[in-house]
Structure formats: structure tokens, C-alpha cells
């Protein structure tokens, strides 16, 4: 209830003055707690030319609890799990680091910064992190191949239809809400 004013304000800011390379939409007008975000791969990165879907879930305790962010588009990255939905490791979202004054816009900017500069010291995919450190050429080749394969078409936010290779890799409980106005479990007024 108290958080709605804050969320509405953040949403307005993100849509009227969106951060570079970030497009925010609300899939379900009655649910302020689920955002769909399209992230443009940064120009000078291996992800250039790709469009990545992010699903942002705001807990009912937001902003006192951190949002959760998942990649609905598959991505080859040391800090994102190589499945669908892809979980992301971001320091400022950890409960001991999260501050309620932190804005979603800056969270999304950090996600984009992570694409520009992966952090292999703190990986979610150790193998990809290793490759990033020891065989950068191979890493870049693979990352680009993923972009071609998954991040070129229209952006999907439904994990189960995120890509051709893994129809059923979605994890229970992590399935994201689609634009169809079903199951408004998280909606609060």
C-alpha cells in the first residue's frame, strides 16, 4: 500500500526519462509489482545488437526488500545462469547490501553495466567465467552465437518460450508472468 506511490513514481521516471538502452513496460496495469524490461546489448560489448528481456519482480515489502530480476532471454554470461529464466548475481540486490533508497533505474543500469563488463571473480557460471578469463576469443564467439540465436527476434518474457533450444528448462516458481492478465497473485492496491 505504502509502496505504491513510490513504485508509481519510479515507473513514471523510467518511462518518461528511460536510462540509456532500457525500455520499461508494465505487462498488467493492475499489477505494479511486475515489470517487463527490454535491455539493448551495449554497443561496445559482445551483446551489441541483441535485445534481452528482463522480468523484474517487486516483493510486497519493496522497497525494504530488494527486487528480483531474471533474464527471460538466454544469455551467455559469467554472472547469469545459463538457463531460462536466467538468474543474475548482482551485489546490490543481496539482502545485506540492498538499501531502500536505491532506485530501480540504477539497478537496471548496473545490469547493463554487467553486460559491458562481466565480473568473473563472482560467477554464477564457473565454466563461462573460466573461459572469459582464459580464452576470451572463445567466450566472445559463444556469447555472440547466443545473441544470434536467442536475442534477435521479438523479446519474450515468458521463460518457457524464451528460445529454441530449451523448451522445458524453466524452474518451478520462477516462471514469469506474461502479458496476459492472468494470475494476478502479486497485485496489490
Amino acid at each position: 500500500m505504502t509502496s505504491n506511490k513510490r513504485i508509481t513514481k519510479e515507473l513514471a521516471e523510467c518511462t518518461t526519462h528511460p536510462p540509456v538502452g532500457i525500455t520499461v513496460t508494465l505487462p498488467n496495469d493492475s499489477d505494479l509489482h511486475t515489470w517487463h524490461v527490454i535491455l539493448d546489448g551495449p554497443e561496445d560489448s559482445v551483446y551489441a545488437g541483441g535485445k534481452f528481456g528482463l522480468v523484474v519482480k517487486l516483493p510486497t515489502e519493496y522497497p525494504f526488500k530488494a527486487p528480483t530480476i531474471t533474464f527471460s532471454t538466454r544469455i551467455y554470461h559469467p554472472n547469469v545462469t545459463n538457463d531460462s529464466p536466467g538468474n543474475i548475481c548482482l551485489g546490490l540486490l543481496k539482502s545485506d547490501k540492498w538499501k531502500p533508497s536505491t532506485r530501480l533505474a540504477s539497478v537496471l543500469e548496473s545490469v547493463r553495466a554487467l553486460l559491458e563488463e562481466p565480473q568473473p571473480e563472482d560467477p554464477l557460471e564457473a565454466r563461462i567465467a573460466d573461459e572469459y578469463r582464459t580464452d576470451r576469443k572463445e567466450f566472445e564467439k559463444n556469447a555472440r552465437a547466443y545473441v544470434q540465436r536467442y536475442a534477435k527476434g521479438p523479446v519474450k518474457f515468458d521463460a518457457s518460450s524464451a528460445g529454441p533450444a530449451d523448451g522445458n528448462a524453466s524452474q518451478p516458481g520462477a516462471a514469469t508472468a506474461t502479458a496476459t492478465a492472468t494470475g494476478s497473485g502479486g497485485s496489490r492496491t
Binding site: F64, K99, P100
Partner: protein
């Protein structure tokens, strides 16, 4: 593995035979300040106050009020030495994980940096109070109505009172955080001081907050641990460090009667070192299929195949149907056990038989494991059954008084026997895990003999203990039970002393590495 199950319901007189009372008071406070003191407890020669048994460690048990007093004393001391408020002293101490010496040294060197790092920035110390500021808009909830009550920490970051309260509630109740809650502002690492907390939180939150603060004192210090017994609030102090756990098994006994390992907080597992215990428990869990099969409560009589249920701790089984007497552990004839040395405790390595193919090898290694597991599980189960029996012992003691005219004091020997049984079984159980990882050398034979002696004594006592009331009334049996009880306790001490001495001096060879890669038996977080 059922580890919470072995609390002794009552440890009293008998305990003193083994755990000399004065142990709890050796070593003055000054020995237990802060890290980096030498390892006095390993080398008993250095301990001039008293020659200690190798299997014992120095430790102290504190009650909650003692712990509170220690904290208060430290805070007062720092408050006086550094001439800062008690509140700031407490925050600084927590920041330095209660290492007073390091705090004072660092503070003397560079006070401003220390204050900054601890979140006690000296700049802009404002009046801490709730008020409404004209034109204020809360940056967290985005409310801006006139008259909105707000608060600012020393750093000047002002938010509405509701937001501060929700933030604190999330941290304190949701995340169990207390000592290091930072200002809610992004990038500001000021730690919310106790005075601001008093102003901001509701009483029930304050209570939890102080409880959590109180806990950090214990959790921050390596030489303190909570007694893991449920509902026990006591704290044990012991100087044994993680790196020493390959040379000593620091068994301690809380005032509540619970015996546990200071190293890993599991139930006392002497003589096996923590790392072996960890591996053994993992192995047992991994092999639980086999383990389940083995530890089944019923077996078939080796003679007539009728099903027999074990209902007491004693391994001497008599088939109800055919009266065949056998050993529950090895299923061998009991008559061969009772009279002479028996080989029930030792796995005879099939020397000479070269098991070349992998299948046979793995079968042998499984058989070897099962041999030790079987005996381990058996004692574990017996200890549990003996404990049930102990609960019934009181009843038995009442009955015996009626039957024999003995006084309550005069029947106490049954309680002592019951306690000895449980403690010895606990030790025996771990001797088998210990033996499983033990590589043979010239010392293993002595160990096995000690194990055998203790095991025989325990079985004998267990059997006497289970005799019907009518025969217990016989004064001759009473003397026998008392003798056997003290014999069991003595054998246990001998076994523990031998294993502990060799462990301290690094004379055992294990077929596994004792240096735990990731052994995190650290302070268990409770509640």
C-alpha cells in the same frame, strides 16, 4: 543421524568422576582474552596449575547473566579508557568483534578513521529527534504530505518515521541483523546507533534487537559457543581453535548436562576428531540405504529364524522361541563372547587374499564399512534404548525401594549405572567411526584392546542392569553393578586418554586427510 537425541537427562555425581569439577575453573580470565594466545591446552606440561588428562580441555560455562556482565564490563572499560559514550563504546566493540585490545590500539593511533569505519562519523552530530520539517518529501516512500514526521541519523539522511520503522523491522525481524544495520541511504555506511534505535523502534522490536546484539557478542568470538541443547541459554568458553581440531577433540559439558564438542557443536564424539566425524556422518548419510537395512530393529534368530526385536541396550540376545543365545552384533554364539576375549570389535582383514578385480575390492570395502557401521549403529541405538531405560530407571528405583526397603540414596547406584552406560556407549559408538578411518600401525592393537575391554564391560553392565527387580534387590548384585559401573567409567577414561595422547602427538595414521577443506562447524545460529 539422530544427533539431538542424546541429551543426558541428568548428569550429576557420576559425572564428577570423569569430569573433575575444577576443570570449569582452571585458567583465569586473562588467558581467554582475544585471539593469538598460545595453545596452552595441548601441551599439558605448560599448564602449571594442574596436570591435565590429554582428553580433557579447559573450559568454562557461563550463564546469560555472566555473558551480559562481561559485555557490560568491556563497554565500561572502553568507555573510560577512550572517553567516549557507552553507546559509542558498544558500537566500536561490536565493530571490532569485541577485540578490546585492537580497538584501543587502533583508536589511539587514528581515532577519526576508526570512528568513520564503525559508522560513528563525528561530523554533523545533530539533535536526534522525530519532527516534521516543512517541505519534506520522503525519498523512500515518496510521501510529501505536510506534517509528515521524519527523522535524520547523524549522517543527515532524513526519511519519514514509517520508512525508518519498516526498514528496521525488515532488518531486525526479517534478516536477524542487529549490530551492523546501516543507514537506509544508498552509499551511506553509517551504522544506526543505539540512541536512534531507542527513538525509532517499538518496544517489541527493541527487545529482539537487544537479543540479537547480545548474541553477536558470543557469535563474534571464536572462544565462545552457545550450548546447542534446545532451550539452553548458556555459553561455553574454550580456547581450542579450528586449526587444532586435528590434534584434539574438545568435549565440553554444559551446566544443563549436555555434552558436546566445542569444535563442531555436535554431541560429544570423543575419541574421533571432528573431521572424521563429519566424513563419517556424510558417508552414513550417503549410504543410508545400506544403513537402514543394517540398523533395522529386528533380526532373525540364527538358529530358528524367528524374528527377534531388540528392546534393550544389551547385545546378549536370547531367542524367546528356541532359547538360543547369541550376540546381536555379530550373530555369533554368546557363549564364545562371555568367557574369553572375543573378536566382535575387530574386523579381521582378510590378509593374503588379494582382491584383484574391482568388484571384489568394492565388496570388501563395503563389508569393511558395514562391519564398522554395524557396530557404530548398534551402540547408537543401544545408547538411545539405554536412555529410554534411564527414564524408566526412576520408576525402577521406586519399585526397588518398596521391594528391598532400601532408601532413595541407596538405590542411586542404578542411576549411576544408567549414566555410565550411556556415556560409554556414546564413546564406543565413535570408536568404530574412528577405527574405520584408522590405518593399521603398532598402536592400533592397543586401541582395539581398549575398545574390546570397554565393550565387554559395557555389555556386562547392560545385562546386569536389565535384570528383573526381584534380583536387583539382592545386595550382592548391587555391589556387582556398582563395581562394574566404576570399571566401565575407568575403561572409558583409559581409552580416551590413550587415543587423545596419540592424537595430540600425531601418532595415529588415518586413511583420510584430517585437514577439513571446508569444515564449517562454526557457531550454529539459533532462533
Amino acid at each position: 543421524m539422530d544427533t539431538d537425541d542424546d541429551f543426558m537427562s541428568n548428569v550429576s555425581s557420576d559425572e564428577d568422576m570423569i569430569q573433575d569439577d575444577s576443570d570449569n575453573e582452571v585458567s583465569g580470565d586473562e588467558d581467554f582474552g582475544f585471539d593469538d594466545e598460545p595453545d596452552v591446552y595441548i601441551d599439558s606440561q605448560k599448564d602449571v596449575e594442574k596436570k591435565k588428562a590429554a582428553y580433557e580441555v579447559n573450559y568454562k560455562v557461563y550463564q546469560p547473566s555472566d555473558v551480559q556482565k562481561q559485555q557490560d564490563d568491556l563497554v565500561n572499560e572502553v568507555n573510560m579508557i577512550l572517553d567516549i559514550s557507552r553507546e559509542e563504546a558498544a558500537i566500536l566493540l561490536r565493530h571490532f568483534r569485541w577485540n578490546k585490545e585492537r580497538l584501543i590500539e587502533d583508536y589511539m593511533d587514528r581515532p577519526n578513521q576508526v570512528l568513520d569505519a564503525a559508522g560513528l562519523s563525528q561530523s554533523s552530530v545533530r539533535e536526534l529527534k522525530i519532527r516534521s520539517v516543512p517541505g519534506f518529501a520522503c525519498d523512500i516512500c515518496c510521501e510529501d504530505e505536510p506534517g509528515l514526521e521524519s527523522f535524520a541519523l547523524k549522517c543527515g539522511h532524513r526519511y519519514c518515521v514509517d520508512c525508518y520503522r519498516q526498514y528496521l523491522s525488515q532488518k531486525i525481524l526479517g534478516e536477524g541483523e542487529a549490530a551492523r544495520i546501516q543507514c537506509p541511504s544508498e552509499g551511506c555506511n553509517l551504522i544506526i546507533d543505539a540512541r536512534s534505535l531507542d527513538i525509532l523502534v517499538t518496544p517489541e522490536l527493541t527487545e529482539r534487537y537487544h537479543e540479537l546484539l547480545h548474541r553477536t557478542y558470543v557469535e563474534d568470538k571464536d572462544n565462545l559457543k552457545w550450548c546447542p541443547a534446545p532451550d539452553c541459554e548458556n555459553v561455553v568458553e574454550c580456547a581450542v581453535k579450528k586449526k587444532d581440531l586435528d590434534r584434539i577433540v574438545p568435549a565440553v559439558a554444559c551446566l544443563c548436562g549436555h555434552r558436546f564438542c566445542f569444535g563442531c557443536a555436535l554431541n560429544d564424539h570423543q575419541p574421533a576428531p571432528c573431521e572424521l566425524v563429519k566424513r563419517w556422518l556424510k558417508k552414513c548419510a550417503d549410504d543410508s540405504e545400506t544403513a537402514n537395512w543394517i540398523s533395522a530393529n529386528t533380526k532373525e534368530c540364527p538358529k530358528c529364524n524367528s524374528t527377534i526385536e531388540k528392546n534393550g541396550g544389551c547385545n546378549h540376545m536370547t531367542c524367546r522361541k528356541c532359547k538360543h543365545e547369541f550376540c546381536w552384533m555379530c550373530m555369533g554364539l554368546w557363549s564364545e563372547h562371555g568367557t574369553s576375549w572375543y573378536n566382535c570389535n575387530r574386523y579381521e582383514e582378510k590378509s593374503g587374499v588379494e582382491a584383484r578385480d574391482a568388484q571384489a575390492r568394492s565388496r570388501i570395502s563395503l563389508e569393511r564399512y558395514l562391519h564398522y557401521y554395524n557396530r557404530y549403529a548398534n551402540h547408537e541405538q543401544s545408547a538411545r534404548l539405554d536412555k529410554d531405560i534411564y527414564h524408566k530407571t526412576e520408576k525402577k528405583m521406586v519399585q526397588l525401594q518398596k521391594e528391598s526397603g532400601m532408601s532413595w540414596i541407596e538405590v542411586q547406584y542404578l542411576s549411576a549405572a544408567s549414566q555410565a552406560l550411556q556415556m560409554c556407549r556414546q564413546t564406543l559408538m565413535w570408536t568404530y567411526a574412528f577405527a574405520f578411518y584408522l590405518a593399521r600401525n603398532n598402536l592400533t592393537e592397543i586401541f582395539e584392546d581398549n575398545q574390546k575391554d570397554l565393550e565387554m564391560a559395557v555389555e556386562a553392565l547392560s545385562e546386569m542392569f536389565e535384570r528383573p527387580i526381584t534380583s536387583l534387590a539382592d545386595p550382592k548384585l548391587k555391589v556387582e553393578i556398582m563395581d562394574k559401573t566404576s570399571y566401565c567409567n575407568k575403561r572409558r577414561v583409559i581409552l580416551l586418554e590413550d587415543t587423545a595422547q596419540n592424537l595430540a602427538e600425531g601418532r595415529w595414521t588415518f586413511n583420510t586427510d584430517l585437514i577439513g577443506s571446508s569444515s564449517n562447524g562454526g557457531p550454529s545460529v539459533r532462533r
